[in-house]
Structures are given as C-alpha cells and as structure tokens.
C-alpha cells in the first residue's frame, strides 16, 4: 500500500501563547507567530521573548516548529536592532524566520547564521527561477504568492528542490500582496509595514471623466465597485496540493480566535493525515467541510489554484449569512466515575442549550446542557461570568483542552 512519507506540514497562525498551544494540540505541525517588532500584524497579539521561549519549549516537546514573521518592508531606520532580534530568536530556538525584505535577510544572515529563512508571500514569488534565485541566496523555503495555480506549482517542483509553502486557508489580499499601497495613499498607513487599513474591502464609485465632470458607470441601484475577495479554502483539494509537492500548507489568520485556530488546525491535520496514510483509497469526509463552515467568516473559494478568480470569488453586496458558532467553554478536567467535566467559561451559556464538544483528532459530539454547578458546587442555570469555573455532566468522555461551542 502506498503511503506518503514526507507528509507536508500543517502550518497554523498563533496570535498569542494560548493560541500557539491550542493550534499544536489540535494537530498543527508548525505555527507562525509575530515578535514585538518587524512584523506586519501590529494589531495581532505579538510574543515577548519569554513567551517565545515558552512557546518553543511547548512546541518542541511535541515535535512541532515555531516560525517568527519579520516580514516588514523596512524604511531607513526601521531595521535598527534587527540583528540582536534575530540573534535572540536563534538563541531561543525559533525554527525559522519569515522575511520579505532583502535588507532584513542580510541582517539575519550576519547576526544569526544558521537560523533558517523563509521568503514571505509579500515578495510575490510566482515562478521557479525566482525560487532558484532565493535558494542561491541561501533561503530554505519560499512562501508562494497567492496568484499561482496548482499546475504552476507542479512545474516549479520539477525545476527546484527548495521547500515550497503555499496558503491553503483563510483571508486573501486581492492584490499581489507586496504590491499594494492603497492604504499608504488613501490613509497614510503603510501596508508593507503593518498598517494595512483593508482599503480594498471598501466600496467605491466607478466613473469616467467628461471634461471635468465625473459620470458614474454604476447602474442605478446597483452595488458599488469593490475589490473584496472571498476567503480561500483548499480543504477539498489537499491531495492536489500534496501531490504537487507543497511542503507546508499554510493557514492564514494571526488575528483569529482560539475557536478558529483549533478548528481549522484540527480539520486540516485530520484530512492531511488521512490522505497521506493511504492516498489511493482516500475519500473526502464531508464532516470536515461542515466543521470548517462553523468558523467561516466569508464564502470560500480555491483562489487562483484552478483558474483566475471571477466575480463569484469576490464579495459584492450583502454577504451570505453564515451561521456563527461561539466558543463557550474549555474543558479543564474530567472525572470518568461521575461523568462530570470541569469547564472554564468563555462565553455565556446555560442549561437547556445545545452545545458541541470537540477535541484533537477530530473528535466531536453534541449534547444538551442538562445541569450546571458553580465553583462552590451550587446549582446554577447559566454561566454568565467570563473565565468562571463550572461543572456539568457530559454525555461522552472528554479531556482537558477539549473545547465546547454553541450556535
């Protein structure tokens, strides 16, 4: 029976230490995080060096890797201190840094020789000679531009052995990502230095000039022009990604919640494991897709992988309502004798509500909340307070770090 031995990694985003641990518990083979500087997600939770140390210890004890994104396009002065930053990352045991700026690449080589460098998607790598160029510079991996097709990746793999990382899930820039300065010009916020104001998702008038008079092209009552992309999901096409020779399957979203990160990591790692264990008898489990829709924020598409995206892969008008689930609680412990679980509340819920428990390895079950007790063992109807500890009877065994969601 054929097996895929060099299975690609599932690479998940981690906005903070809790998300890092949860992503890894839920099957991510690697996570990427931001430091206190040099990244593009100034508003995502970013890691102090101490948090990185703890994250690396946690990841390495489970055979997982931690990458740090330092993919800012630096102006004069922005790279100050970057040498010490990279040296510290290397000492901490960070597995690789993600960079797009060649000045930062040079600084990293000099200050932290041996620290692997991955080229960020901001550098828009779209052909195999570009990959060969970065290999000749000494990079270990290239994150592809989101504009490449699956056939182009196959072709790249025939021409180069540098590691290839490609996005499989999440929100997408509608531009070649490093080549967009809408935010800079519209609101003085530098997209390539973490200031992106998502101007592409605004609504615009489209018009022609008749002398000095603007004449709109937007039909009466029609939706205004917009450039908002739906999200990417390659869940149904992972066999294509794997067989094309992609080494790392990247999930977008350092700003996303624990609920999102755990769910998406769980689904993708399950699907990849299932395929690689027996690719010739693989069948897609629709339950994986159902699970993804529980955390989806926009409609989903395959981006550029099979065709140049049409109007169907853009958001015009009112977005379709996607039923939203809420992260309600996290399991802290479970007593098999009494079938009572101790939970930490994350969102208000109460007796009578239908909830769903899920755990690593794609374990799921639904039940109705029948009973609830507070920390002192007093029966309660609802769990209204953030982070309060409660106990309840569960229908099936659970483990610490199982999560509970509700509609």
């Amino acid at each position: 029976m054929r097996k895929i031995l060099n299975k690609p990694e599932v690479l998940a985003p981690a906005g903070n230490l809790e998300k890092l641990k949860m992503a890894i518990r839920y099957g991510a083979d690697a996570v990427y995080i931001g430091g206190q500087a040099y990244g593009l997600r100034s508003r995502a939770g970013n890691f102090s060096f101490d948090e990185m140390r703890e994250g690396v210890a946690f990841a390495h004890s489970r055979g997982a890797k931690v990458y740090v994104a330092a993919n800012m396009v630096t102006h004069e002065g922005d790279s100050e201190g970057a040498g010490n930053f990279f040296k510290t990352l290397k000492d901490i045991g960070i597995d690789a840094v993600i960079i797009s700026d060649p000045a930062m690449i040079t600084i990293c080589f000099n200050a932290a020789p041996g620290l692997p460098i991955h080229l960020s998607t901001q550098a828009s790598a779209t052909n195999y000679k570009t990959l060969e160029f970065w290999k000749s510079v000494g990079l270990e991996r290239v994150v592809l531009a989101r504009e490449v097709g699956i056939e182009e990746i196959r072709e790249m793999r025939r021409h180069t052995d540098i590691e290839i990382e490609a996005f499989v899930h999440g929100a997408m820039c509608i531009a070649y990502s490093g080549r967009c300065t809408l935010s800079n010009h519209m609101v003085n916020r530098d997209a390539n230095r973490g200031g992106c104001a998502q101007s592409c998702r605004w609504k615009y008038d489209l018009f022609e000039m008749d002398g000095t008079t603007a004449k709109t092209l937007v039909p009466e009552g029609a939706e205004p022009f917009s450039m908002s992309a739906v999200d990417l999901s390659m869940l149904r096409h992972l066999p294509d990604m794997i067989e094309a020779g992609v080494n790392s399957l990247k999930i977008e979203g350092r700003m996303k919640s624990i609920h999102y990160v755990s769910t998406v990591s769980n689904v993708y790692s399950k699907a990849v494991d299932t395929y690689c264990a027996d690719p010739d008898h693989f069948t897609f489990d629709p339950a994986w897709e159902d699970e993804i829709w529980k955390v989806a924020q926009r409609d989903l598409s395959t981006g550029f992988y099979y065709q140049v995206p049409t109007e169907k892969e853009q958001l015009f008008g009112q977005p379709r309502k996607i039923p939203q689930y809420t992260f309600a609680a996290q399991v802290m412990s479970y007593d098999p004798a009494t079938k009572i679980a101790t939970l930490q509340q994350r969102n208000n819920f109460g007796a009578g509500e239908e909830v769903e428990f899920y755990g690593p390895g794609f374990v799921h079950f639904k039940q109705t909340v029948r009973d609830l007790w507070d920390e002192d063992g007093e029966p309660i109807d609802r769990a209204p307070n953030p982070m309060m500890t409660i106990t309840m009877t569960v229908d099936q065994p659970v483990e610490p770090y199982y999560l509970m969601r509700k509609k």
Partner: protein, 303 residues
C-alpha cells in the same frame, strides 16, 4: 549630471522625446514590461535603440513584470535579443529575471525596479551586490528618506519626477468581474479612462485599468517634483523618470521638453521654479491633478 528617463509609446514619439531632451528612453510591454504606455515589439525597440544611439542617447527596456512560469520561460530569448540589439539596460522587479540574466551572462546591465519594495539603502546594496547597476526608489518614500538613502550610495537612485504612481496590482480582472456582476457591457483597457472614488474622500480619483497582467490602480494625483527640482539636484538625486503610462502623444513630449529645459537651467544655476510650474500646469490634462505624493510628508506621518 542630471539624467531624464522618459517612457516612449511609439517610434514617432521616441524620436520627438529624444529631440525634446530625454537622455534615456524607457520602452517595452507585456509579457515582460509592466504598465507601459503602449506595448512595443522587438522590431520597434530595435528601431528606437538605433535612433537613440545615433544621437548618443540610451534605451532601457522594461522587464519588470511579476513573472509566472510561462513568462519566465520566454524571457531567455527576449533578453538575448535585447542584448544583441545593444539595449543599454533592463529594469527587473522579479528576482527570477535576475537569475535568468545570470544564467545567460549577457552584457545587459539591470536596474532593480520592484515599485513599492525599494525603501532603504541596505536593500539597494543587496541588489547591487547581486549585480544590479541601479535601483528605482519606491514612490512611497519621503524626501527625508530619499536623501538618507542617496547619501549612503555611490550610484544615483532613480526616482519618479513626473507621472502617475501605481498603488495596486491585482492578478484578478477586477473591472471585468464587476461588469459581470452588474451586467455592464463595458471596456476595461487603459484608453477607456476610468476612475475609482472613495465616497468618504470626494477629491479622490484613482485611475484604474486592466491588461494581461491584471488590474492596475493609480494615485489620484500625477506626481510632479518640478517645484522641488533644486532640492533634488542639491542632494544628488539626479536620475528622474517621467512616466507617460496614462498620458499619450504630444502632451507628454512637451512635458518632457519642459523638464529638459529645467534640467539645463539647474545645471547652469538659473532654475526658477514658479515659471516652470505654471507652464506644467498649462500642459497638464484637466482630469489629472498634480501633487507631490509622499515627497513632502514627514516619515512619521505614515504609520
């Protein structure tokens, strides 16, 4: 020594631009050159090279596209043809093109031009060490930053002195997609003359068009550093590009002539900006306001 680089859209315009005082002509087109006023084939480029060289002037060819596999595969023979016809330099914005130049080891210097991605002297040094003969600075830099960068380099960096600034390139046909969504029967090419406006900013007017490389959006204002030329000159920013991607024919030639005249005045110490600025405003199309872009902003204004 100030050098004026001007885009050329045809052999006829090339000739007029050379007469008007352009030092280097910048030509090319899909599938290798990005956002040129008109795509010129190798025959036309060859004729322009001969014309320029006969007058002791130069020609740079745009190879600055973000290239996909099918483009990079054809780049070998294109570069070899350019080298053979004696093209003076190419611009590149994709490191795959640099890798190709290295494989071919052609006598064809390259200038690194990745639009938004050239923002520090250290970056330019990286490309110079890898063989680049020069670099084009991002339009999003302030004068303060440009001065700092230039002070660290021996080679003058190239800056946009006149013309539109591209602020967005998408691989998607954004206009076509919108037309399909709204059942509009419309054109999307650059000659159609379409704009976007952000309703929150009534003065905004962003040119937009589609071509084989996707969708391109430009800033509201055409950049003009006419009023700032003395300062550019004094701090060693001597390589000026005039970009006619949205401005065709005779008007662009006249504007080039005006900058060439300003250059002479600067070099002879008689430059007086007010007259030049007034004359530029008279030539400038009404639909395209002039501005100074990021040039006069403070670096800290941009977050």
């Amino acid at each position: 020594m100030i050098k004026i680089i001007a885009t050329a859209e045809s052999e006829a315009q090339a000739e007029a631009l050379l007469r008007a005082g352009a030092d280097t002509l910048y030509v090319g087109g899909h599938p290798f050159g990005l956002r040129m006023p008109r795509a010129l084939g190798t025959d036309q480029i060859q004729a322009i090279v001969q014309m320029a060289h006969a007058l002791g002037k130069k020609v740079t060819v745009a190879c600055n596209a973000l290239m996909h596999n099918k483009q990079i595969e054809k780049l070998d023979s294109y570069l070899s043809q350019l080298a053979e016809m004696g093209v003076d330099a190419v611009t590149v914005g994709d490191p795959g093109a640099i890798f190709t130049l290295e494989e071919l080891s052609l006598p064809l210097p390259y200038i690194y031009d990745a639009e938004t991605l050239v923002t520090s002297a250290e970056q330019i040094e990286f490309w110079m060490k890898r063989g680049a003969a020069g670099a084009v600075a991002a339009r999003e830099l302030t004068l303060t930053e440009l001065k700092e960068i230039q002070a660290k380099l021996d080679q003058p960096i190239e800056i946009l002195a006149y013309g539109p600034t591209c602020i967005h390139q998408s691989g998607r046909p954004l206009l076509t997609n919108y037309y399909h969504y709204t059942d509009l029967d419309e054109r999307s090419d650059s000659d159609r003359g379409l704009y976007l406006r952000d309703p929150k900013n009534p003065d905004s007017q962003y040119p937009i068009f589609e071509d084989e490389d996707g969708t391109h959006i430009f800033s509201t204002e055409d950049l003009s550093l006419m009023a700032e030329l003395q300062e550019l000159y004094d701090c060693g920013l001597h390589t000026w590009k005039l970009d006619g991607v949205l401005l065709h024919g005779e008007t662009f030639v006249k504007i080039t002539a005006l900058f060439a005249e300003a250059k002479k005045a600067l070099e002879s110490g008689t430059f007086e900006p007010t007259g030049f600025c007034n004359r530029l405003r008279e030539l400038q199309p009404l639909s395209r306001p002039l501005g100074t872009g990021f040039y006069l902003k403070k670096p800290d204004d941009v977050k």
